[in-house]
Amino acid sequence: MIETICALATPPARAALALIRISGPSARFVIEAMSGQRMSHRHPLLSILKRPDGAIVDEAVATFFQGPNSYTGEDLVEITCHGNPIIVEEIIREIVSRETVRPAEAGEFTRRALANGKLALDQVEALDLVLNGTSRRTIEFGLKAKMEGLAGSVADVSERLLDLLTQVESQLDFSDEEVGTRDSKALAARARALSEELARWAGAFSAYKHLFQSWTVCLAGPANVGKSTLFNKITQTSKAIVYETPGTTRDPIEHVVDWNGFPILFIDTAGVRVSDDPVENLGVERAMLAIKRADIVLWIDDRGNPPPPVVKEVLAKKRWLPVRSKADLNIAGDLGDCLAVSAHSGAGLERLHRAVLPEEAPLDGIPHRPLFSERQYQLISLAADDLKKAADLMDGGEYLDLCGEHIRSAASRAQELTGPLPTDRILKEIFARFCIGK
């Protein structure tokens, strides 16, 4: 017997409304018992929810979705009730007091949707972007990915891998027959082309992965040049403590901002200087680490001085930009390559904004629907490697049994984006295409 689960879907805080979900075989019975009304599929009903002793718990709207036409694929009820935590708690307590109902575990509704085939794995990943995305662009991407899914691309790639595998396997299982492509060089070329295509597909991910993993901008520079003031201005927060004493900032402070639709993680760091204070020195060490992991570093100095050699060495390998702060106090305008900004007047911020943005990643040059998780990236990169190995073996013209394993592995990895590959398909394809007979 599958258990029925129940949980609050909105945050547990006082609000006008709250949404409670019940999923599983007794969802309908539970709500019908509490409201004394018959529910029908997708008909929201204003319901007086009562305890078994007749006491009123709340006046709410309940909607019943009959499985499989629901989010989880099971019978599902959504109760929109008043958002007072006391009411919410009481409704849930009433529901889970039934023998067949228990509180849901984290993510359990989605897990059931996955188990019941309502969502594919990549769609669950897309849902993650929609729910946890920190910028408009990411959410947009997530919504599109969830609606379209990678299934189309997986089907296309699988089809071609299957074709390749069919050709290779037919040479192994039917080598006595005159079937399939006998030219292993031509097959190798096809495998290589497909491998390169997959590598391009996976490779493109790193160019736009800042949509999913925040693009990190590190504010670094000498002590007391106004990094924290600038940080607060940019993030529109007062997260960083601003004080006139040099060395105020110790731990790096982070904040994500949606800039032009991209999630950008700004890090404010301790000023780089030699100090007698061991705590401040630890802060400088952390600043250096932040510089190392940032996608772009803003080297801030109110005089426009270049960074010291230790820092320069690290910056040499990265994208970085010299910035002259407190532009309102000194001579206006840029000094050489230095970008002048003022946290007070806001001068130069617009240009800084443009300068730190990641390069617009072209999504249209990618051979398939763009990948959007590290897992997907790994799978496709490995599939590309598998195929390359297969191509190398085919060029050698030997060990075709291994070659089959590599293609099979590539196919199963590609399919893992959404689901597994049935072995029967290969033989079916072979029989459908080739003349085989003893």
């Binding site: 609050l8 879907a9 946890n132 192994l172 089959g404 033989l427 007979g437």
Partner: protein, 656 residues
């Protein structure tokens, strides 16, 4: 009365029946072998050969279980070929063409000489069942034989019907009567029976073939005997010949299609896709301008030649006309025409993983009657069902082979899990652990296990141990080879188109390079390899060369093994799971898989259904766990699988 009481009765003495009865005999179980015609024990109804692609792996497994097929094939061999030699050890296959008359004579003689085994002629028409218990069987003559275990291996004989053109007649094999009544009886006791079709080729007179117009295919010197127990090959081997059909042949066939029972709609049942009749080939692959014809002698004392590739059920005149259009066969005479045959088979999803019927314990089915095709498929099911019938007679645990340890395991799992609607033939691509299941390591995989249940004589086991020692010696010999980066060494390497070495290198490292074989490595060795058999050399070469891949396969296997460890109770009520689609419930209730792995291979069972099952079973186990403290392996497996499922969804957080 006591003389008619046995522990096991085997019905049918074809390739499956022989191996089943012989296995019982080796295990010391009193057995009766019943056949409709004792002259036909071990008859080869179709091609005169043992082994071939995907099949030699099965044959070698029968060999490793102490079976007779390979040994007898070596004794009656006409020609040897090693197929797929350069395509890798996992797909390499031996094919022995045999003298079918000698094969049958040797086999009959052997079967008659086995201990604990009686052979009798008789046609079984029904089983003796009392209160749901199997007691034995009865023949059409009213003879009654008692045994609590019966293995049915009736091949194509149940309600067999042969077709040549629009003529058809009841027959089990050309010239022999079918077995009538048994399949009706089986249906009457609730066993689901279906109908399949297969066919065979015309046999022609050797004196009427002009071999000068054909291509000769000589027996391959380097191919080792097919049985690991055969010391050497016969010396009087012969060649086969290859001819080709042409546009004229195809035209003759096309214009006679309405005479074909297949195309005239007389035969409705499904035939094998991989072994289509020549009519089928010409219709389905109209763009092919020619097809190969393998001309193989059926025996040394006969002039009959098997026209491989030309399976047909066209009328006699037509067969003669198209044969004569083939270069080399212009004046050919047919001795026996080709024909198609329809027969009853049973739905193997009624069987458990030991080939025993789930509804009637003690009743086993093996071979072509289960919907397979091929001698090797039949023999390996026969030996497997025989072993299990004997184990049951001995009141011991069943003998189960998994997909990852044998082709037999792959085939049995496929049959009982998915069933088949067309004749099932083995292919290497059916085995997901192909790299682990080679013909060269069948003995290593299965022989010790077979010895454990009493299938191997001490003499044979000594041979096996000697062989294992040889392989170990060879392995250490190859591991001891050290190449120093001298100009001399590098010159040798370059002569082999190989990159030079810069440091001291192990011989086994060099052997792992593509294009290098043990004979190349031998040039750097002082020791002689002559004392080692080609089989052992290729075995050790493979183990070294494929080590990385084999290890990878084994690692994957461990991972997947988790699913196989998740047991499903046989009385599990799938209806009680509301999350399952109705079709899934029906399929699962019918097959009754014993673990989650088997459930996942049932056709039409989706990953979604498997996760519902996994989640459900894991909860059940957890409940058990909390009541009876302590964890078992299966529970931990569930947790791992579930964890993987959950990790991702958890990222979503909250209660979405």
């Amino acid at each position: 009365m006591s003389a008619d009481v046995y522990q096991v009765i085997v019905v049918g003495a074809g390739h499956a029946g022989i191996e089943a009865a012989a296995a019982c005999s080796r295990m010391g179980v009193k057995t009766l072998l019943l056949t409709m015609n004792v002259d036909q024990i071990g008859a080869m109804s179709c091609n005169p050969a043992v082994g071939g692609l995907g099949k030699s792996q099965l044959a070698r497994e029968v060999d490793a279980l102490g079976g007779h097929m390979c040994r007898v094939a070596d004794k009656s061999a006409m020609q040897y070929r090693l197929l797929n030699e350069s395509k890798g050890p996992a797909v390499r296959a031996t094919r022995v063409q045999v003298d079918r008359h000698e094969y049958r004579a040797i086999m009959k003689n052997l079967v008659e000489s086995l201990d604990h085994l009686s052979v009798k002629q008789g046609q079984v028409s029904k089983l003796l069942i009392e209160n749901g218990k199997l007691l034995g069987c009865a023949t059409t003559l009213g003879q009654i034989f008692y045994a609590p275990n019966v293995v049915i291996t009736t091949g194509t004989f149940m309600n067999g019907k042969a077709h040549i053109g629009k003529m058809n007649f009841a027959s089990g094999r050309a010239g022999e009567p079918p077995s009538v009544g048994l399949s009706d009886y089986l249906s009457s006791i609730g066993i689901r029976v279906g109908r399949l079709k297969t066919g065979t080729v015309p046999r022609v007179d050797r004196r009427t073939i002009d071999f000068s117009k054909t291509e000769e295919q000589i027996s391959q010197e380097s191919c080792p005997p097919i049985s690991i127990f055969s010391e050497k090959k016969r010396s009087d081997l012969v060649s086969a010949h290859i001819a080709h059909t042409n546009a004229m042949t195809h035209e003759i066939i096309r214009s006679s299609l309405e005479e074909s029972p297949l195309y005239a709609g007389i035969i409705q049942s499904r035939g094998p896709r991989y072994c289509p009749s020549v009519e089928d080939k010409i219709v389905r692959f109209a763009d092919k301008t020619r097809h190969q014809v393998f001309l193989e002698r059926e025996g040394r004392l006969t002039n009959e030649v098997y026209a491989g590739g030309l399976s047909t059920s066209l009328p006699y005149d037509c067969q003669l006309a198209f044969l004569r259009s083939i270069p080399g066969l212009e004046r050919v005479e047919i001795i026996r025409p080709g024909y198609a045959i329809e027969y009853d088979y049973i739905d193997a999803t009624q069987l458990s993983l030991t080939l025993e019927t789930k509804e009637l314990p003690g009743l086993f089915f093996a071979g072509q009657v289960n919907g397979t095709s091929g001698y090797e498929e039949a023999a390996s099911q026969g030996i497997y069902a025989g072993i299990n019938a004997a184990r049951r007679a001995q009141e011991k645990e069943p003998f189960v082979l998994s997909r990852s340890e044998s082709y037999i395991g792959v085939m049995v799992d496929d049959l009982v899990t998915k069933g088949t609607t067309e004749p099932y033939r083995m292919f290497t691509s059916r085995a997901e652990w192909r790299l682990l299941l080679r013909q060269d390591n069948a003995d290593t995989r299965l022989l010790p296990k077979a010895q454990g249940v009493g299938l191997i004589s001490s003499k044979d086991f000594e041979k096996f141990e000697a062989r294992q020692r040889q392989r170990a010696n060879l392995r250490s010999l190859m591991n001891e080879v050290r190449l120093t980066p001298t100009p001399e060494t590098n010159a040798k390497l370059e002569a082999m188109n190989q990159a030079p070495i810069k440091t001291l290198t192990l011989g086994s490292e060099i052997l792992r390079r593509p294009g290098i074989t043990y004979s190349d490595l031998h040039r750097f060795m002082e020791a002689s390899l002559e004392t080692f058999s080609p089989d052992d050399l290729s075995f050790v070469e493979t183990e070294i060369k494929y080590e990385g891949y084999i290890r990878q396969s084994e690692a994957q296997l461990n991972q997947i093994g988790r699913m196989e460890n998740l047991k499903i109770p046989t009385d599990f009520l799938y209806e009680s799971l509301s999350g399952l689609p109705r079709e899934s419930v029906e399929k699962l209730s019918r097959v009754r898989p014993i673990n989650l792995g088997q459930a996942s291979r049932i056709s039409g069972i989706t990953p979604a259904t498997i996760s519902v099952l996994a989640i459900h079973l894991s909860r059940k186990l957890r409940m058990k766990q909390s009541s009876a403290k302590g964890t078992c392996a299966a529970e931990r497996e569930f947790d791992v699988i579930e964890e993987e499922n959950i990790t991702l969804e958890n990222r979503i957080g909250g209660n979405n």
